[in-house]
Each structure stands twice: as structure tokens, then as C-alpha cells.
């Protein structure tokens, strides 16, 4: 069924048809969230929130942009918000337990040294990218979304997206190469 007709029917009261949108976009949404969070369970939780947000705001979707672009944008925002909340919570925990953390600092550093697993290394490298570079990189790498659609999702020009992805890859390579040389 044509997507705009599907959305129209959902808004007219055929609520169960929303499941068709969930089926069509769940893979993309989960992969985008996972690209930011690096944890499939958390990614699925955030993806649930993405679809619920889309459901609540569906009446505001005017069809000026593609539904995919709209839901990718929600996915990026929800993932970044989730990361900010986690970061804030961690900072609060650190200030609340300053002594405890400083005691644990050594073991944390040791753990960091133990983190030789490649997955953690690459995740850390991605997390170290600037937010806009990370967003463009995740959208292109994890869901192979076209530069045009990434540009629409991020409200940027295609050339800006190309530049962001180029810089993201260069920085990622520098980070990884630096690590390999050290170890």
C-alpha cells in the first residue's frame, strides 16, 4: 500500500495498520539506534520509544519529507538523548561517590587496558567522533542510507554530509591506527 495512503488510513482510525510501518522500518530504526548505543537490547528499547513517539506525533507528519527521513530523525534524536541521559547519570554518580570512584579508578583503568576486544575499541572510536560526524557516519554505515537522505534527515546539504563522513572516517582511522601503534 502507498505509504501516504497508509498514514491517512491510520489517522482516520485504522490504528492497527501502524504495525505495517513498524514492520517496514524496525530494522532501520534498530540499526540506527544500535549504531549510537552499541548494545542491541538498549537499541531495541530506544527503538520502541521511537515508534511510540512516531505514533503520538503522526498527526503532525505533513508529508513534506519522506516518512523514512522523519523516523530516522526521531531515531537519531532519541538515541542522542538516551546517551546524554546516561552520561548525565554517570556524572551524577561520580560526583555523589567521588571517593568511591577514585578508589575504583585504578581498576577502571585496568579494565580499560583489558578492553582489547575489537568491538569495544571500534565503539569507543565512534563515540569519540564529534556528534554531527558520528550521526552522519552511523546513518551511512549502519543503515547504508543515501547521502541525499542523510542530508534531509540532518537538515544539511549533500556536500556537508560528504564532508562530515569524510572527516568521520579520517578521524576514526587515526584513532584506530593510533591504538594499533601503541599496542
Amino acid at each position: 500500500m502507498d505509504e501516504s495512503k497508509l498514514i491517512k488510513r491510520i489517522l482516520e482510525g485504522e490504528k492497527e495498520l501502524f504495525s505495517e510501518l513498524v514492520i517496514s522500518y524496525q530494522k532501520e530504526v534498530i540499526n540506527i539506534c544500535n549504531g549510537f548505543l552499541h548494545d542491541i537490547d538498549s537499541a531495541k528499547d530506544v527503538a520502541q520509544e521511537v515508534f511510540i513517539e512516531a505514533w503520538k506525533s503522526l498527526s503532525k507528519f505533513r508529508g513534506d519529507s519522506k516518512f523514512s527521513t522523519w523516523i530516522y530523525r526521531i531515531s537519531v534524536n532519541k538515541s542522542l538523548n538516551y546517551l546524554r541521559e546516561i552520561k548525565k547519570k554517570l556524572t551524577e554518580d561520580i560526583s555523589d561517590n567521588e571517593l568511591k570512584i577514585s578508589d575504583d579508578e585504578n581498576s577502571a583503568i585496568e579494565k580499560e587496558f583489558e578492553m582489547s576486544q575489537k568491538m569495544e575499541l571500534i565503539h569507543k572510536s565512534i563515540d569519540n567522533l564529534a556528534e554531527n560526524q558520528r550521526t552522519a557516519f552511523v546513518l551511512s554505515k549502519f543503515e547504508e542510507i543515501s547521502y541525499k537522505e542523510i542530508a534531509e534527515t540532518m537538515n544539511l546539504t549533500i556536500s556537508s554530509v560528504e564532508s562530515l563522513i569524510h572527516r568521520a572516517k579520517t578521524n576514526l582511522q587515526k584513532e584506530l591506527s593510533g591504538y594499533y601503534k601503541k599496542n
Binding site: 513498524v22 534498530i30 505514533w55 582511522q173 584506530l176 594499533y180
Partner: protein, 144 residues
């Protein structure tokens, strides 16, 4: 191409984003340089991890879970609406009773006003007859 140039372009080479000539220059360098080749192999393996993390299949349980959440939200909205209605119902009944009583009083007053208008109308009629200086029945009887 030297080591530095090669290493700076490895990620783009792995992603297949270089021109044919650049790619063959890198390949030539990797054949000759063991250090760059090791770096290339490590980078290639690590970047392939990203692709392996992607989910490729649709999860029916995920869809059902989203739909169940939405149904819960909708039923919560309906129950909230019902609660509001239940809360407002006594006020609505009271307001209706007050309205009915007020309307009753208003109509009652209108009826009373109408009677007094009729009375004053007959008084003016009598006055009119008197204005014609007609003598009353009692006056005629006394005179007889």
C-alpha cells in the same frame, strides 16, 4: 605512494571509495610494505565488525510489543477520558437541575407579568369609560 599517504587512505580503500588508479597504488604499496599491510588487515577486520552488528531480520515480537504499547496508551487515554467524565457527571447533573429550575422560575415570572398587564388594561378601560363622563349604575340608582 608512501606509508603516510597509504595509511591515510586505508579506510576509504576498504570502503571502495577510491579511484581505480589510487586503489592500485595502495595495493602496490601494501604488497611491498609489511607494516602498512598489518595495519590494513587490522583495520579491515575491525571495520567489518560494524557490518556484523547490523540486524537483518524483522522481529515479529518487536512489532507486537510496539503495538501492545500503543494499545495501552490508547486504553489509558480512554480510561482517563472516562474518569474525567465520571468526575464531571455530578457537576453536570447539578448544573442541569439549576438550569431547569431557573428556566421554570423565568417562565413563571413571565406568566405573572402577563396577568398584571391584563388587569391594568381593564382599569384603563374603566377609566376610559369614566372619561366619557358616563354615570355609574350606583349613581343612577341613588338618583332614582
Amino acid at each position: 605512494m608512501n606509508c603516510n599517504d597509504t595509511q591515510n587512505k586505508l579506510i576509504f580503500y576498504i570502503d571502495g571509495e577510491l579511484s581505480k588508479s589510487e586503489s592500485s597504488e595502495i595495493e602496490n604499496h601494501l604488497d611491498r610494505c609489511n607494516n602498512c599491510n598489518i595495519l590494513y588487515q587490522k583495520l579491515k577486520i575491525d571495520l567489518s565488525i560494524l557490518s556484523s552488528e547490523r540486524i537483518m531480520e524483522i522481529d515479529v515480537n518487536f512489532t507486537e510489543s510496539v503495538m501492545q504499547n500503543i494499545r495501552n496508551i490508547e486504553s489509558f487515554k480512554i480510561s482517563n477520558r472516562q474518569k474525567t467524565l465520571n468526575f464531571l457527571m455530578p457537576f453536570a447533573v447539578a448544573a442541569s437541575i439549576i438550569l431547569i429550575i431557573s428556566v421554570g422560575i423565568l417562565f413563571g415570572n413571565m406568566g405573572t407579568n402577563k396577568t398584571s398587564t391584563q388587569i391594568s388594561g381593564s382599569e384603563s378601560e374603566v377609566f376610559y369609560i369614566n372619561d366619557l363622563e358616563q354615570e355609574s349604575l350606583e349613581f343612577n340608582l341613588i338618583n332614582e
